[in-house]
């Protein structure tokens, strides 16, 4: 039995969203000129000229941001039920959630002090 209500809108959004790329590609295929020329392969308007391949090895530093993002992503999962049930929970739960966040802020401050967040 399907009991979740309100997902009709999600379904509608999904249908519309799946139509958007199809319509965009079909419409541009219909409208665009089919002439071929050297101009066609150049960068559009004031775009940068691409240099080198797109498949480069990333700097290891970017992995740091991904790791920190993952930590706070998991934190979001824990805070999500708290946010939904906020009106049913009292002041005590608010303080407990603040403790939860404060413990993680310690880690954020540590990462910040260690320079893990510097984009260099």
């Amino acid at each position: 039995m399907f009991v979740l209500s309100g997902y009709e809108y999600l379904l509608g959004f999904l249908l519309v969203c799946s139509l958007v790329p199809i319509l965009a590609l079909v419409a541009s295929k219909v409208v665009r000129p089919s002439r071929r020329g050297p101009e066609r392969r150049t960068t559009y308007e004031s775009g940068m000229e691409p240099i080198g391949g797109a498949w480069i090895q990333f700097n290891i530093r970017y992995y740091m941001f991904a790791l920190i993002f993952v930590i706070f992503d998991v934190e979001t999962v824990f805070l999500y039920p708290w946010a939904v049930a906020f009106s049913r929970l009292g002041l005590l739960a608010f303080i407990e959630a603040l403790i939860f966040i404060a413990i993680l802020v310690v880690g954020l401050v540590y990462a910040w002090r260690k320079g893990a967040l510097e984009w260099s």
């Binding site: 700097n59 970017y62 992995y63 920190i68 999500y80 039920p81 413990i103 993680l104 260690k114 320079g115």
Partner: protein
């Protein structure tokens, strides 16, 4: 069969087809980055199936953790090591492929027999539905408060461990020099300056 059931069955069919197609693509595609993105597709399809099973919190956690975090980590790991190189074909590669096939077929047979032989009891209790997230929240702040707070300590340990491991402070001298050079090197070539107007004086 009314409209809601029909929509549900059609959604399940689409999601299952998406999941199977993406999973086969993960295995079969040569380009490992495509495989990683298709793995995200598998995770999203699983989240949709969780939604169909009335588990909206699990679906949200699936999208946040697996699509948002795990898949991002996998993509970063791939892009960190992704150097185009020509692989030499292994000698007697078919032995490895045969061994892999036997192991995979064995696991498939084992899981299939387990699924078939398990008596799946369907609970008759009413699903919590929309209220499930509220129920989870209430549990978090009453009888599961200690695990909830311990989870943040665990996350803190993971964060500090990641920082410590990724930014080692004590490197041997020769290694430190090399590390500095590596860190300073840009991953792309410096570009030449191209004159674009009549004021251009760069040679």
């Amino acid at each position: 069969m009314n409209l809601a059931e029909g929509v549900q069955i059609v959604s399940f069919g689409i999601l299952a087809a998406m999941m199977l197609g993406a999973a086969i693509g993960v295995v079969l595609l040569e380009n490992i980055v495509y495989s990683a993105f298709l793995l995200g597709g598998v995770f999203i399809s699983i989240a949709g199936i969780y939604l169909l099973l009335n588990a909206d919190f699990v679906a949200a956690a699936q999208v946040l953790i697996y699509v948002g975090a795990v898949n991002v980590l996998i993509l970063f790991a791939i892009m960190l090591v992704n150097k185009r190189q020509d692989f030499q074909p292994l000698r007697r590669g078919w032995i490895r492929k045969a061994a892999t096939a036997v192991v995979c077929a064995g696991i498939f047979a084992l899981l299939s027999t387990m699924i078939v032989s398990t008596p799946w009891a369907i609970s008759t209790a009413t699903p919590a539905g929309d209220a499930s997230v509220v129920v989870i929240g209430l549990h978090f702040f009453s009888d599961f408060l200690l695990p909830f707070e311990l989870a943040s300590v665990l996350l803190l340990m993971a964060l500090i461990g990641a920082v410590v491991l990724a930014r080692r402070e004590f490197l041997p001298d020769d290694e430190a020099d090399r590390a500095q050079v590596e860190a300073l090197r840009l991953p792309e070539r410096p570009r030449e300056l191209v004159p674009s107007g009549r004021d251009e004086t760069v040679n």
